[in-house]
């Protein structure tokens, strides 16, 4: 009674030899090899792939957990990283729903067998619509950057123009994505910001805008965390030149900040990750696009748009609105392309908004404002440190200016890391004009203690001017 060496793999039922024989008999083939005869020998890979030996489930779990244990996560430390991916409170119900086998493994069913998926995505669209106060929202796209890039392409198609303006305070990574997505046909130009406030430099905008401009894009809050106050003026200027006003938004702000549609935005896009997605090392991102309910907008969406449609019995059914615009319908003349994007995060964002409701969203926004203002205030008390670098109101993120300390951000962050604190994003290479600055993020999850500890540790490591690297050995 020895252990069988050759056993069926749990994932592959038909490794059972008797079943294989029966199937081959039915097909009329001698062997499975015979079924590959259509692939010429010259193309056959006859080597053996150099892969590690297979693991049983228990050993696999042990192996991967050992690997992951080499990571240090943000809930083992205090993290002030934001810059497009934020640590927020994720309600357990969000996780429960997106871990349900049904949603996890569904894909492309019809509204008959996948009714729940359609309804959940329709509800997501409807909930985000309330948040931005617009009537059309898409099934989510990859991320904010993609949403912005597509919004700009939509604007170009609508205006039949091919120049777009963006603020120089934009996230450089996002900009690189937009540029690649827009090239070669569309020209992207950056508009300067005011050195004191960070706000868009209206003079520069007026200089660069023209009747060739398809769209003016700006963000609220901006990548550097401050609130862009002149939304109405910017939108008006865009409209004067026949351009579309496109505004990118962090939806976690919309319980307290005016939605862009109220200051002239024609297209609103943004990132859904704050609405119930774990950071997942960046895997929690998902983008949305919202517009008014006008045919000229709807026709330019590349995304799926689920709409209500009655059944023969008068029930709510769901289907694709204006499907013919998509690349699924017409691969060459469809609008851009559509495919698997981030539907599960859309559903999750819907769950999140259902849980928070209007009051929860307002409290979320208010809590973030209070705590981040407290952090800025306290950080600014440190000698040589200014927060925020810009003289505007901030939401959630802000630029901490370390230039006055004579220290490099890199070194300060290294010292913080030794105290189990992840400092904000180092801006010194991406925004060289700011010198030694970091982009810090405070959300509702941070406590007063977290902030006070940050302040204390920064104070302590910026004071010791000459010791520098020696700090390292003082870590606990």
């Amino acid at each position: 009674m020895a252990i069988e060496k050759q056993i069926a793999h749990p994932y592959i039922p038909n490794t059972v030899p008797e079943v294989q024989e029966e199937m081959l008999r039915e097909i009329g083939a001698e062997s499975i090899e015979e079924l590959f005869e259509g692939i010429p020998e010259s193309l056959r890979f006859r080597g053996k792939m150099d892969l590690p030996q297979p693991l049983t489930e228990y050993r696999l779990r042990q192996h991967v957990e050992t690997l992951l244990n080499k990571n240090k996560s943000c809930n083992e430390t205090v993290s002030f990283l934001g810059a497009g991916c934020w640590q927020h409170f994720v309600p357990a119900v969000c996780d429960e729903i997106n871990q349900r086998s049904e949603f996890l493994t569904a894909y492309a069913g019809e509204p008959y067998e996948d009714f729940g998926r359609y309804q959940a995505l329709f509800e997501y669209q409807s909930l985000v619509a309330e948040l931005v106060d617009m009537d059309v929202v898409n099934v989510p796209t990859f991320d904010w950057a993609q949403a912005a890039a597509t919004s700009l392409r939509m604007a170009c198609r609508m205006t039949e123009r091919n120049e777009v303006l963006l603020p120089k305070t934009i996230d450089p990574d996002k900009y690189s994505m937009i540029k690649n997505y827009c090239s070669p046909e569309i020209n992207c130009t950056l508009v300067n910001y005011d050195g004191i406030s960070g706000q868009i430099d209206m003079d520069d905008l007026e200089e660069k805008i023209s009747t060739k401009t398809a769209a003016v894009y700006f963000e609220n809050p901006s990548f550097l965390g401050f609130i862009e106050e002149k939304g109405s003026a910017i939108s008006e200027l865009a409209h004067q030149f026949g351009a579309i006003s496109v505004v990118g938004v962090d939806p976690s702000s919309l319980g307290v900040l005016e939605p862009p549609s109220h200051y002239g935005a024609d297209i609103v896009c943004g990132e859904l990750q704050p609405l119930g997605m774990h950071m997942n090392y960046g895997g929690g991102q998902a983008g949305f696009i919202a517009t008014r309910d006008e045919e000229k907008f709807i026709k330019e969406y590349p995304s799926r748009l689920f709409g209500i449609v009655p059944t023969v019995k008068g029930e709510y059914g769901f289907g694709d609105v204006a499907y013919e615009r998509t690349s699924f319908h017409d691969r060459v003349n469809g609008k851009e392309s559509v495919g698997t994007q981030t539907a599960l995060w859309g559903i999750t964002a819907g769950v999140y908004l259902s849980l928070l409701g209007p009051h929860g969203m307002r409290e979320l926004g208010q809590t973030i404002m209070q705590k981040s203002q407290y952090a800025m205030k306290r950080l600014s008390m440190i000698e040589g440190v200014t927060a925020s670098r810009f003289n505007s109101t901030n939401f959630k993120e802000f630029v901490v200016d370390f230039n006055g300390t004579g220290k490099k951000v890199e070194d300060i962050h290294q010292a913080l890391r030794e105290k189990d604190i992840f400092g904000g994003k180092d801006l010194s290479s991406t925004f060289p004009e700011l010198g030694q600055c970091g982009l810090y993020c405070i959300t509702e999850i941070h406590t007063k203690d977290d902030i006070d500890r940050l302040v204390k540790e920064i104070e302590s490591c910026t004071k010791k001017k000459s010791q520098g690297k020696d700090d390292k050995h003082g870590a606990s």
């Binding site: 994932y11 592959i12 039922p13 038909n14 692939i39 193309l43 890979f45 779990r61 192996h63 943000c74 119900v93 729903i97 871990q99 086998s101 493994t105 569904a106 894909y107 492309a108 019809e110 067998e113 729940g116 309804q119 509800e123 619509a129 948040l131 929202v137 990574d173 690189s176 994505m177 106050e229 919309l254 900040l257 005016e258 090392y281 960046g282 895997g283 991102q285 309910d293 045919e295 209500i308 023969v312 019995k313 008068g314 289907g319 204006a322 392309s337 698997t340 981030t342 539907a343 599960l344 259902s354 928070l356 409701g357 209007p358 009051h359 809590t367 705590k371 109101t393 992840f422 007063k448």
Partner: protein, 510 residues
């Protein structure tokens, strides 16, 4: 369930959750936090979100989940080309680990060595599977991978000064729409090769269209028909000779693992959908990963960063010489990278090859059986299918009037999912099945029995099929006007309320 829309559950004053609060000390010091806010930026009117208690929100979405047919629940072979395979549960538990979920993408490399190791080792495995030299996991879906490849084609020719001149991309008919669509976004003209009577693209057609305007050639092989083009190396040779770049849509490579590779077929790039061949879940349509592999000479164009290893430490290389930039923020979808890595580790080299063999065995068995069903056929060459087949009900439709869409709705009554085809319907009355390695003979027989039964019904009582479904959450949809008429369509509940007042007619369940 006769579950209402979430908005219909609104009860003012109820709460689903309470967010963490501001400490009184901070509030005492800072105030309400709004003072600093310019008046014009303060939201005046609350968003009209519903107010619902936690239990009711949970009940709502749990019920919706039960109204969704995930592939865990059925014999999910009806979504051909999408490789709906078994999603190992252990992998799902692995990706719920806070050591992954709570990582921020900008953490210092020293604090994410485990995750970087997983990415790197998946890269190594992908190289073995494809013969390519480097992989990027940034594209989060097949469409984005195709777009990234089109971008690399553009960048590569741009680098040699041929960017403007080479403005044509050649593709084939039986391929995913995104092959063409993403190339169009990058400003390319599309040339589509038509299949011959056996379903193969013609070498002569290709020869006719290549020129110094050819930027690239993108193709799946096997195509949606499941037919493998044995002359593929000749195709890539011709394109290379004309100065074009060949890229391979391996969204679904399930029948090829360990059997044949992109490298030997002469491709410069390929991509795999980790959510198809590599057993990451589809999640209602993403997030997903299109793992993008290139040969050495194209590495410099990859979207960055990519993970490298000095033998001890893993690091992120942001400095690719001619990178197209980024196609997605941060590092793609690391959860799915980890899933694919775990799946490969649970199979090993022999196991992967077994996957391909059983996928092809299952498909040929299904092919054999479906062809025996009255009114069904599998157009083009007889035999020679790898992991999927596009079938046709053309004969049945002619003889009974029952269409493939009717069959689709009726399949719901049997607890099955069934997909037709991408547009345009080159194969008339199409349906596309792909059984993968995950389903047993008994599963396939169950699916075949349902198709056989529906064919019988179509010939005996066609209206039964045409009026289906009967056992779904809803009845047949009457769609036209509500989806294409701007006065009627409603993409959101608020738009619906403005345009319709149709609640009364709704059928109430018992």
């Amino acid at each position: 369930w006769d579950e209402p829309l979430i908005f219909e559950l609104h009860q003012p004053g109820e709460r689903g959750v309470v967010v963490p609060k501001t400490e009184p000390e901070i509030e005492a010091e800072i105030g309400d936090g709004f003072t600093a806010l310019p008046e014009n930026m303060l939201r005046k009117k609350e968003p009209q979100l519903p107010e619902v208690s936690q239990a009711r929100v949970l009940r709502h979405y749990l019920r919706l989940s039960q109204e969704t047919l995930g592939s865990d629940f059925n014999v999910e072979i009806g979504q051909g080309t999408c490789t709906m395979k078994y999603i190992p549960k252990v992998n799902e538990f692995l990706v719920r680990n806070p050591k992954l979920t709570e990582l921020h993408p900008y953490q210092d490399e020293s604090t994410v060595q485990g995750m970087l190791a997983a990415i790197y080792h998946l890269d190594l495995a992908m190289r073995e599977i494809s013969g390519m030299d480097y992989f990027s996991f940034q594209p989060s879906g097949g469409t984005q991978a195709l777009f990234a490849m089109a971008s690399i084609v553009r960048a590569k020719h741009g680098a040699t000064g041929e960017g403007e001149k080479r403005d044509e991309i050649i593709t084939t008919m039986f391929s995913h729409p995104s092959q063409a669509a993403t190339a169009v976004v990058k400003g390319y003209k599309i040339i589509t090769l038509k299949p011959d009577e056996d379903g193969y693209p013609r070498l002569e057609d290709l020869k006719k269209v290549v020129s110094d305007r050819t930027a690239g050639f993108v193709v799946a092989n096997p195509e949606d028909t499941g037919i493998y083009n044995p002359r593929i190396k000749e195709f890539t040779d011709i394109v290379h000779k004309a100065g074009g770049i060949c890229y391979y849509d391996q969204a679904n490579a399930n029948g090829l693992l360990g059997i044949t590779r992109a490298k030997e077929a002469g491709f410069d790039m390929c991509f795999f959908n980790l959510h198809k061949t590599f057993a990451a879940p589809h999640m209602c349509g993403g997030p997903a990963t299109g793992a993008l592999g290139v040969k050495d000479e194209l590495k410099q164009f990859l979207p960055g960063p990519i993970v490298e290893c000095d033998g001890e430490k893993y690091r992120l290389n942001h400095q690719l010489a001619s990178s197209i930039g980024k196609v997605r923020s941060f590092h793609g979808v690391p959860q799915t990278v980890l899933r694919a890595y775990a799946w490969i580790r649970s199979l090993g080299a022999e196991g992967l090859k077994e996957v391909a063999k059983i996928a092809v065995l299952n498909n040929n068995y299904l092919y054999h059986k479906v062809k025996e069903i009255r009114g069904a056929s599998a157009p083009y060459v007889n035999g020679g299918r790898l992991e999927q087949v596009r079938y046709s009900w053309e004969q049945m439709t002619e003889e009974t009037g029952v269409t493939t869409e009717d069959v689709q709705r009726r399949m719901t009554d049997f607890g099955h999912h069934y997909w037709t085809s991408h547009h345009p319907y080159v194969v008339p009355q199409p349906f596309t099945l792909e059984p993968t390695e995950s389903y047993s003979k008994e599963d396939l027989d169950e699916y075949i029995a349902a198709l056989t039964q529906i064919s019988k019904e179509a010939y005996e009582e066609p209206e039964k099929v045409q009026n289906a479904p009967y056992r779904s959450v809803i009845h047949k949809i009457e769609e036209e006007d509500f989806l294409d008429n701007p006065d009627k369509w409603a993409v959101t509940w608020r738009a619906f309320l403005k345009k319709h007042n149709w609640k009364e007619g709704k059928v109430k369940s018992e």
